[in-house]
C-alpha cells in the first residue's frame, strides 16, 4: 500500500524533478545526472530493485551524513570553539582595558583562585541552585500530575501557566522589581510590610534577604517550564502498563511509584539537569534586580565575570574565570550525557 502510494507520487514528480534538475548527489540508478557527476559507479547501475537496493554504496553512506552536519559544525566551531580558544589565550596574558600585552602563564588563574570574591560567587551560585532547583522540580512534578488529571480547558490554561517562563528574563526581573519595590510595591506594601517582614525598603536592598528574593523569582519563572515538560512526558507515556495495573487492581500510589516514575525518569533527569545548568548561568534577572548587591551578597559567577570585563576591564582575569566555568561545565555535560545516554537511554 505504502509503496503504491509512493510509486504514484514518484511518477508524478518525475517531470518536475527533471525540469528542476535536482541538485546534489543522487543514487538513482542510471540517471543522466549520476553519469554527468561521475559520482556513481557501475555498482549502482547494476543494482536491482530489491531490498538490497535500499542500501546505498558504502562510499556514499560514508560522506552523506557528514555533508549534512557540516554547516552546523562549521558554524558552531566559529561561534563556540574559536571564542573558547581565544578566551584561553586571553586568560594566559596580561589583558587590561582591552589591550593584550605580556604572556604571564597561570598568573590570572592564581589571582582568581586566591580571590575571596570568586569563591563568594561560587558559594552564592551553589546556594541558589540548591534551593531553587529542587523546589522547581517538586512543584513542577506535582503540577504536572495535577494538570494530567481530568482538567478542563487545558488549551487556555497551558499557555497562561507557561507565561512566566516565556517572558523575557529581563521583563521578569522588571516585574518583580515593581511588585517588590520599596514602600509602594504591591507585594512589599500589602504582604511583606503588613506582616513586618521588611520595612519601607525593597527586599532586594536587604543583604540578608536579597538572595532568597532572587530564588523566589527564579522559582516563579521556571516552575511552569518544569511543569509543562513533565506534563508533556506524562502525556506521551504508553497506556499498556496502566491498563495492566488497573486489571491487577493497583492503587494510585503503587501506579505512580512502579509505573509512572520509572518511565518518566529519563525526562526528569534531562530536564532537571538542564535547569541545574541554566540556574548556574542566571544573569538577566539578577542584573536588573540587584546587580550583585547589596555589596556582593548576590554576586553570581556570571555577574562577577561581567563586572570584571565591563566595569573593571580586567579581561585576563575574567577570561580565566570563563575558562574555569567552561571546563567545569564541559566536564559536567560529559558526565550528564554519558549517564543520560547509556544508563537512561534518554538521548
Amino acid at each position: 500500500m505504502l509503496r503504491a502510494v509512493i510509486r504514484v507520487t514518484v511518477a508524478r514528480m518525475t517531470d518536475r524533478i527533471a525540469k528542476a534538475n535536482a541538485c546534489g548527489p543522487s543514487w538513482e540508478p542510471g540517471t543522466n545526472e549520476d553519469k554527468a557527476r561521475g559520482v556513481m559507479t557501475s555498482v549502482s547501475e547494476a543494482v536491482p530493485l530489491n531490498a538490497a537496493a535500499a542500501q546505498p554504496p558504502a562510499r556514499e553512506r560514508f560522506w552523506y551524513p557528514y555533508l549534512l552536519i557540516a554547516p552546523s559544525m562549521l558554524t558552531l566551531t566559529v561561534v563556540s570553539l574559536i571564542p573558547f580558544i581565544y578566551t584561553v589565550y586571553l586568560s594566559l596574558h596580561a589583558a587590561k582595558f582591552g589591550r593584550v600585552t605580556d604572556f604571564i602563564g597561570a598568573d590570572n588563574y592564581m589571582t582568581l583562585l586566591t580571590d575571596p570574591r570568586f569563591w563568594n560567587s561560587i558559594g552564592i551560585a551553589l546556594i541558589f541552585i540548591a534551593i531553587a532547583v529542587p523546589i522547581e522540580f517538586m512543584l513542577g512534578l506535582v503540577g504536572a500530575l495535577i494538570l494530567n488529571q481530568n482538567v478542563r480547558g487545558r488549551s487556555v490554561l497551558i499557555p497562561l501557566l507557561f507565561m512566566p517562563t516565556m517572558m523575557a528574563p529581563i521583563v521578569v526581573g522588571l516585574l518583580w522589581k515593581i511588585m517588590l519595590a520599596g514602600s509602594w510595591g504591591l507585594i512589599s506594601y500589602n504582604v511583606l510590610e503588613r506582616f513586618h517582614l521588611i520595612g519601607q525598603t525593597s527586599i532586594f536592598a536587604s543583604s540578608g534577604l536579597a538572595l532568597y528574593a532572587l530564588i523566589f523569582v527564579d522559582v516563579w519563572q521556571w516552575t511552569p517550564f518544569m511543569m509543562l515538560a513533565f506534563f508533556a512526558g506524562l502525556q506521551a507515556l504508553p497506556l499498556g502498563p496502566y491498563r495492566a495495573a488497573a486489571v491487577d487492581g493497583a492503587n494510585d500510589v503503587q501506579i505512580f511509584f512502579n509505573i509512572t516514575l520509572p518511565m518518566l525518569t529519563p525526562l526528569l533527569v534531562v530536564v532537571g539537569l538542564l535547569r541545574f545548568i541554566d540556574a548556574f548561568k542566571v544573569f538577566d534577572t539578577v542584573y536588573i534586580l540587584t546587580g550583585g548587591g547589596p555589596g556582593i551578597t548576590t554576586e553570581t559567577p556570571s555577574i562577577l565575570a561581567n563586572k570584571m570585563t565591563f566595569e573593571f576591564w580586567n579581561i585576563g582575569e575574567a577570561s580565566a574565570l570563563a575558562v574555569l566555568v567552561w571546563i567545569a561545565f564541559f566536564a559536567f555535560c560529559n558526565v550528564f550525557y554519558q549517564i543520560a545516554k547509556k544508563r537512561l537511554n534518554a538521548f
Binding site: 552546523s72 573558547f84 507565561m163 506534563f231 525526562l267 559567577p301
Partner: protein, 278 residues
C-alpha cells in the same frame, strides 16, 4: 498518567480544574497587575495604601512611542527572524543526520553541540566583544545573529533530532527503492513530514532570541537595540519610568504569548528535549 486509565467522575475533574485555575490566578496576578500599570497614572502607582481603582491614562504609551520604541520592536523582530531562519536552514539537515545515520565520533560531535548549549553566555561575551570589535561586527545584525547561533543552533539540532527519530524509516527506504535520490527524499519527504517538529523547535528558538538580553546588551548598541535592552533605558535621571516599563514588558510578551496559544501542542512536545520517545 494518561487520562484514559482512570474514569474520574465529572465532579473530580471540576475540582482539579478549580485547583489549577486558583493556582494560575495567584501565580499570574503580578502579570495582570503589570498590564494594569500600562494605563495607571503615576499618582495611583506610588500610592500607599495601594489604589485598586483609578482613571486609565494613555500617557505611558505616548512616552514610549516618543522614545522610539517602535524601532526597538523592529530590531527585535528582524534579529529573531534572521537568527531563527538561519538556524532552520543549517540545523535541519544536521538534526536529520544525527537521528538517521551512523557516523564516526557521532557521540563526540553531539556532545560538542550539547556543550555549546550549556556554555554560559557570559563566558562567550568576552571573546565575542573583542573579536567583533576587531571585525567591526559590534552593533550589527550580522554579529548578533552569529552570537545567537551559540544557544539556538545547538538547541535546535538537539530537539529536532528527537522529532527526526520519530519519522518512519520504512517510508524513506521505500522511496529509495523507487529510485529517489537522497536530496529528493530529504526535500520532498522528510522535510514535509518534519514540518510540525520544525515549527515547534523554531518557535522556541524565536522566543529565546526574542527574549535574549546579555548578547544584545553587550554586543548591540544604538543601531541594533532590541526590546529587552531598551528596558534599562527607562531608568532615567529623573527616576524610573515604571508605567513605561510595564508597556514595553507587556509589548515584549504579547507576540510570544500569541505564538504559544496557537502552537501550544507542538511547543509542549518540544519541551521534552528529546527525552521522551513519542
Amino acid at each position: 498518567m494518561p487520562d484514559e486509565t482512570k474514569k474520574p467522575t465529572a465532579d473530580r475533574g471540576l475540582i482539579w480544574t478549580a485547583i489549577v485555575v486558583v493556582y494560575a490566578a495567584i501565580v499570574l496576578f503580578p502579570i495582570f497587575w503589570m498590564a494594569a500599570m500600562m494605563v495607571m497614572p503615576d499618582e495611583a502607582m506610588f500610592a500607599r495604601p495601594t489604589v485598586w481603582l483609578f482613571t486609565p491614562t494613555l500617557e505611558h504609551f505616548r512616552y514610549v512611542l516618543e522614545l522610539g520604541f517602535s524601532w526597538n520592536l523592529f530590531a527585535s523582530f528582524v534579529l529573531s527572524v534572521l537568527s531563527t531562519g538561519l538556524v532552520i536552514v543549517i540545523g535541519t539537515p544536521a538534526a536529520y543526520a544525527f537521528a538517521r545515520f551512523d557516523m564516526k565520533f557521532k557521540d563526540d560531535l553531539f556532545l560538542f553541540i550539547l556543550a555549546t548549549r550549556m556554555a554560559p553566555p557570559v563566558c562567550l561575551v568576552i571573546p565575542f566583544y573583542l573579536i567583533f570589535a576587531k571585525l567591526s561586527l559590534l552593533d550589527t545584525f550580522t554579529g548578533l545573529t552569529l552570537a545567537y547561533m551559540t544557544f539556538n543552533l545547538s538547541f535546535y539540532v538537539w530537539v529536532l533530532r528527537s522529532f527526526c527519530r520519530d519519522l518512519p524509516v520504512e517510508i524513506e527506504e521505500a522511496a529509495a527503492l523507487e529510485g529517489w535520490s537522497r536530496v529528493q527524499i530529504f526535500r520532498q519527504m522528510v522535510f514535509p513530514l518534519l514540518r510540525n517538529g520544525i515549527v515547534a523547535t523554531a518557535v522556541l528558538c524565536f522566543i529565546f532570541a526574542w527574549n535574549e538580553f546579555l548578547f544584545a546588551f553587550m554586543l548591540g548598541g544604538e543601531a541594533v537595540q532590541t526590546l529587552p535592552v531598551s528596558i534599562p533605558k527607562l531608568i532615567t535621571s529623573q527616576g524610573v519610568r515604571w508605567g513605561e516599563m510595564a508597556v514595553v514588558g507587556i509589548a515584549a510578551l504579547l507576540p510570544v504569548l500569541t505564538a504559544v496559544f496557537v502552537l501550544q501542542r507542538h511547543i509542549v512536545r518540544g519541551l521534552t528535549l528529546g527525552a521522551v520517545k513519542g
